[in-house]
């Protein structure tokens, strides 16, 4: 009886001690993230990490631009409100250079293999040899097209088309009476909207934002050719009101069967091939972003990544979470719960070596090829003083490119000519860069 009581007492003591230890080590971290399918999925699966570690998560899920305002305010003032931030490829090199982010070169979980990360993605998140963010999913851009309309037009999409082919195919596929537009592309003003598309496109035409002296290059013949080609192609075969169309508007048009081709983010592939949302899901083909034969394709490179602000006082736990969310184990967890097609793409080579993933995601190889063909350190045919494919990794870029985007969007709306838009872009970029001390 005494022994029994002693045993029960010991067991209770052990349980209490274990409970107290858990309470003592359990922490609460705050994660700011963007509202998209992959991130929302991560939020839904995160209880697995909470159960595993005993820690809890406060989620702050926000629209992309609102998130950017929030985390930029917090990190630049050392606010310390967030322990993990979701940042883009644009922010990573700038914030990393300011020593605002914690190095992920060490302290990550043993099975988190940095060498497995795709070189282009890893390169964009590395500052002076220091990995400042871990990619959660990566994307490039590519051509998504209607195979039935292409066939009806008597054409065959090459795996690596030229811009000239795209323009001719778009004209052939356009049927205004049937409300089918040969080409859909971004026209809405914004550095992450039309300027992402046009900057990437300009790379393939041999244009660049700045020369090696940081002088704006909108007065160059390459930019004139880029913008003129874009405006003419959109006038011939683009949808009405294209100057207001961003990703979502074009996605809607494509899913409704109103676009022959759509050049946009590779992440769109899973949307347009989903039969629950897309009326043309079984007719979608993919091709690399177009080029002009100069050696660069018109595709961009982007990754949403998880980073730890230097102001966080829970950096070890934050690293543990990032190891879990961006490691190979998470990939398996998503595959088990949601299927291989929903695994966050574009960050690890091992995913593209996985036969099950390749079988479930028909767009996988094209995504990988698109990402691999983008080089953020040498985006243009000509030499440039900056990094970034569809952006220039300097703090001034977002403001300048949004203003330039307004000029180009105006030109697309027919309110000014290509020459006028380029002249305005040249003037305002020169003024802003001079004011910034370049």
């Amino acid at each position: 009886m005494i022994l029994k009581s002693a045993l029960w007492g010991s067991a209770a003591g052990v349980c209490l001690a274990a409970g107290l230890a858990t309470i003592a080590t359990a922490e609460e971290i705050t994660i700011a993230t963007v509202n998209n399918g992959d991130m929302v999925r991560m939020q839904a699966l995160s209880p697995a990490w909470e159960e595993q570690t005993g820690n809890t998560i406060n989620w702050v899920v926000l629209e992309e631009n609102v998130l950017r305002q929030n985390v930029t305010t917090d990190i630049s003032t050392g606010g310390g409100q967030y322990d993990v931030m979701t940042i883009g490829t644009y922010e990573a090199p700038i914030w990393g250079a300011n020593d605002w982010l914690v190095s992920l070169n060490d302290g990550m979980a043993d099975d988190w293999n940095a060498d497995d990360l795709l070189p282009a993605i890893r390169g964009g998140l590395t500052v002076d040899g220091t990995l400042v963010a871990a990619p959660f999913y990566g994307e490039s851009s590519m051509v998504m097209y209607r195979r039935d309309l292409m066939e009806a037009a008597g054409l065959e999409m090459p795996e690596a088309p030229t811009w000239q082919f795209i323009r001719e195919a778009a004209a052939a596929m356009t049927d205004r009476d049937a409300d089918i537009n040969g080409i859909c592309a971004r026209g809405k003003a914004g550095w992450g909207e039309n300027m992402a598309f046009l900057t990437a496109m300009s790379n393939s035409f041999g244009a660049r934002w700045f020369d090696m002296d940081w002088t704006a290059q909108f007065d160059s013949p390459e930019w004139a050719e880029t913008l003129t080609f874009y405006l003419e192609m959109m006038a011939e075969s683009g949808p009405a009101g294209a100057a207001n169309n961003g990703f979502n508007e074009n996605l809607t048009l494509f899913q409704q069967g109103k676009c022959g081709m759509w050049i946009d983010a590779t992440v769109a592939a899973s949307f347009v091939t989903n039969p629950e949302d897309s009326t043309v899901a079984d007719q979608v083909g993919f091709a690399l972003a177009p080029d002009t034969g100069l050696g660069k394709r018109g595709n961009w490179l982007w990754a949403w990544s998880l980073a730890i602000p230097a102001s966080s006082d829970k950096q070890e736990i934050a690293k543990d979470f990032i190891s879990w969310a961006t490691g190979p184990g998470y990939t398996t967890l998503v595959a088990e719960n949601e299927g291989w097609a929903n695994v966050p793409p574009g960050t690890r080579q091992s995913l593209y070596d996985n036969a099950e993933y390749l079988a479930a995601a028909p767009f996988a190889q094209m995504t990988l090829d698109s990402i691999n063909s983008a080089d953020p350190t040498a985006p243009s045919v000509q030499e440039v003083p900056y990094t970034g494919v569809q952006f220039v990794a300097i703090p001034e870029f977002a403001g300048i490119a949004t203003q330039v985007g307004q000029q180009f969007s105006d030109a697309l709306a027919g309110n000014m000519t290509a020459e006028e838009a380029l002249a305005a872009a040249q003037t305002l970029t020169t003024e802003e860069m001079e004011a910034a001390g370049y």
Binding site: T30, A32, V34, N35, N36, G37, V40, Q43, A44, N58, V60, V61, L62, E63, E64, N65, V66, Q69, N70, T73, D74, S76, T77, G78, G79, G80, Q81, Y82, G192, G246, F247, N248, L251, T252, Q255, Q256, K258, A265, V267, A268, F271, E276, D277
Partner: protein, 276 residues
Amino acid sequence: MARAISTPKKIMWTALAWGVGLLIFFPILWTFLTSFKTEATAISDPPVWFLFDWTTENYSDVLARSNYPLALMNSIIIAVGSTLLGIVIAVPAAWAMAFVPGKRTKDVLMWMLSTKMLPAVGVLYPLVLIAKYLNVYDSRIMLIVVLMLINLPIIVWMLYTYFREIPGEILEAARMDGASLGKEIIYVLTPMALPGIASTILLNIILAWNEAFWTILLTTVDAAPLTKFIASFSAPEGLFYAKLSAASIMAIAPIIVMGWFSQKQLVRGLTFGAVK
């Protein structure tokens, strides 16, 4: 004597009023309908009006993904708190300007209004640093004070306009009867200006409820109100219109209900003194 209006004219004006009313109400109606659709139906072309499979899935998804009760509670506390604090400060200020104006009263009023033209982002960093220093970042009290300061010029202006309609002789009579300044304001002025004060309160609660710059940037989790709740359902890459509509309806429903019940008071206050 009331002016006689012919029946055809009456019908025409009624139809016009209904037309304008429906036009203004249409976006809310469309948001309401979309919130009960699937994402695929939400973007269907041609649009589906009523004949679709109504679903409440969006509402359950929104509730599952976010802490709506906390956001609602924060919105109520911040909107009501900032307005009441503003009223407490603005009533004496407006009294002074209306009944004992100085040489520069008009200038002060104009200067107060001009602060509304200051781009808010200009004081973002100072305010964030102050909040951090005082350890009130992501707190309701910080937002109550900030929103009160932002709306104070409007509150003072509105109250000043209402107070100017009240004859100063009545206050003088109260003073002659021995009322102190406090009693004069609380027992004489306030009851007479109640419709105006009520409409000021209602209008400023609506303004504070809708304020989306400070409420998003000065909060993370604990004090995040419905504006931040909505921002979590908008996405530039991905079609979540139905869920966004459900979140929008949940965010505006309380203020619509409040407006519905108080519309008589609101209209009365806004037209207070308009007709003599």
